[in-house]
């Protein structure tokens, strides 16, 4: 007698699907959890190292600044434009303009007298804002803040210029 070809039994298929279902459930749950976590955070600083570069350069410019001019050439100080008169390592001075008016970009322009001496820019940034904040000691700090596209605060740093003799 010819034996009939046999497929999987209902039990075999059920067990296989149950195991697969458990994996699917784990993957979906973990993906949802990760997405929730990602939304909670303002920015992945490691995926955007240029944020750190901007901050490091701004810190140096502000720490070594001796004054904060209201205007310079065609620039005027505003939350999106920071102008500082700063001292270089070699003892010379320059005026540095940080321009955040282009969304997602930061432009740093340094001028010796009125001549542009260096220019640097970074892209893919949150929106930077530079304001001033009076410290209880009476000194004026520059407060650097940056918000991502969902208005979540990613950077909030107070930088107080070093005292200069």
């Amino acid at each position: 007698m010819r034996r009939r070809a046999r497929g999987y039994t209902m039990l075999e298929i059920s067990i296989t699907l149950a195991i697969f279902g458990v994996f699917l459930f784990i993957i979906v749950t973990m993906t949802a959890e990760m997405r929730r976590n990602e939304k909670k955070w303002p920015i992945n600083f490691f995926a955007h190292p240029e944020v750190g570069s901007v901050l490091a350069r701004m810190r140096r410019d502000i720490y070594d600044s001796t004054s904060r001019p209201e205007n310079f050439e065609t620039y005027s100080s505003s939350p999106l434009t920071l102008i500082v008169y700063t001292i270089n390592n070699d003892g010379t001075a320059e005026t540095v303009v940080w321009d955040f008016t282009t969304p997602g970009e930061a432009h740093r322009k340094a001028f010796k007298a009125t001549l542009l001496s260096s220019e640097w820019m970074a892209r893919g940034l949150p929106l930077f804002i530079a304001t001033t904040k009076a410290m209880p000691s009476g000194q004026e700090a520059i407060r650097i803040q940056a918000v991502d596209t969902e208005k979540k605060l990613a950077i909030d740093e107070l930088i107080v210029p070093r005292p200069h003799a």
Binding site: R6, I15, M30, M34, F45, L158
Partner: protein, 128 residues
């Protein structure tokens, strides 16, 4: 005549077990990477807040440092919102009569970040 035969339940389970090991390892690696990135981001946010707080404590009059009701965080901590709930702590040690070690701490999710500064009594000259 050779009968045509599908996989047995044992074969299927062994195959699934191998698949399970591969998937579990991948998920575990992914989860670990996400956790470490999250912790690194938390650390960056925590030290922004600690750094801002240190700017206040550097400028606190020396005579005010010891006052217990003054030993709280003074800076804006909005940056720590993603890490809520968190707590803050200010600890002041006096190794010498003219020196105070101020340790600023943020606790959150079984983690903590510290930043310590040393203050010397310079007689109100404004030096740190």
């Amino acid at each position: 005549m050779h009968r045509s035969r599908g996989f047995s339940l044992v074969e299927t389970l062994v195959a699934l077990a191998i698949l399970a090991i591969v998937i579990t390892t991948t998920i575990a690696m992914f989860a670990e990477r996400t956790r470490r990135l999250r912790e690194a981001n938390e650390t960056i946010l925590a030290f922004q807040a600690l750094s801002n707080e240190a700017e206040y404590w550097r400028r606190e009059p020396f005579t005010e440092i010891d006052k217990p009701d003054n030993q709280t965080f003074k800076s804006d901590l909005t940056i720590l919102t993603p890490m809520a709930p968190y707590t803050t702590e200010v600890k002041v040690d006096a190794p010498r009569s003219d020196v105070r070690n101020v340790t600023l701490t943020i606790h959150w999710a079984k983690r903590e970040a510290h930043l310590g500064i040393a203050r010397a009594n310079t007689g109100g000259s404004g030096l740190w």
